[in-house]
Symmetry: C2
Subunit: 144 residues, 2 copies
């Protein structure tokens, strides 16, 4: 299957690696820890994925929730598949703090951004690799 990442997702995020075959990206906004999981599919709706792929997706979301809870302590995880603007199927997993810029509102549609220093993206990718184990294939660029 030929798959290419939506150019807006590509522009807004950093690649971290692949988790169980799905692209794992980091929104370039250091104000919150905002992960985005992109399965390689042309479907826009989760219910249209084969059940095995749905299970793989939610198992990855589960792993990312556990990772964030440990490594980026937060008051609430926000998990969402929206896709009104970018229809390519992607799931947000965001560590929200009650002192972040949008709390208690949602982060979508808000302009606030702070770019990551590149080394911080690398540290996050390496922490994911250490936590998630062999199901996570770290982006080559971040291999130490």
């Amino acid at each position: 299957m030929s798959f290419s990442l939506d150019p807006r997702l590509e522009a807004d995020t950093h690649p971290l690696g692949k988790l169980d075959g799905m692209h794992l990206r980091l929104m370039d906004n250091a104000l919150v820890t905002w992960l985005i999981l992109v399965p390689e599919t042309s479907e826009s709706e989760i219910y249209r994925l084969p059940v095995a792929h749905q299970l793989r997706l939610w198992a990855a979301v589960d792993q990312l929730g556990r990772y964030l809870a440990v490594h980026h302590p937060c008051d609430k995880l926000n998990v969402a598949a929206i896709g009104n603007v970018v229809a390519q199927l992607h799931v947000h997993v965001i560590a929200r703090r009650n002192d972040d810029y949008a709390w208690p509102g949602v982060v979508w549609g808000r302009p606030e951004r702070a770019a990551y220093p590149p080394e911080e993206v690398g540290r996050l990718a390496q922490a994911l690799a250490a936590t998630l184990g062999p199901g996570f294939e770290i982006e080559r660029h971040w291999v130490e």
Copy 2:
């Protein structure tokens, strides 16, 4: 386990029934078709549910997506567990149309509302019962 619905969820939504043991509610906003699934748990994060309960939750979300796609044609489903305001675990499954009031933005945090005529809530509950089969126990009030 003693469980009671968060009073804000109770106030903002209509009961439709129970789906595989989880409360299924309808946001009282006829401008979009906005379902809310509430598992009986004291956890606020999906990753803290036993895996079997997570699977049950996502299987129900899958069923609701299929139901909405057929009965409330839309341009995009929005599926989200947020919980910044109401921490009680609940999952939104919303049929978004590209001519609805918030498109392409998200519906959370927007004030627009139009109350349902009660008979329309009943029709929706009955359509769910006809579509979802025995896993759905319709709210007694809507039984014809």
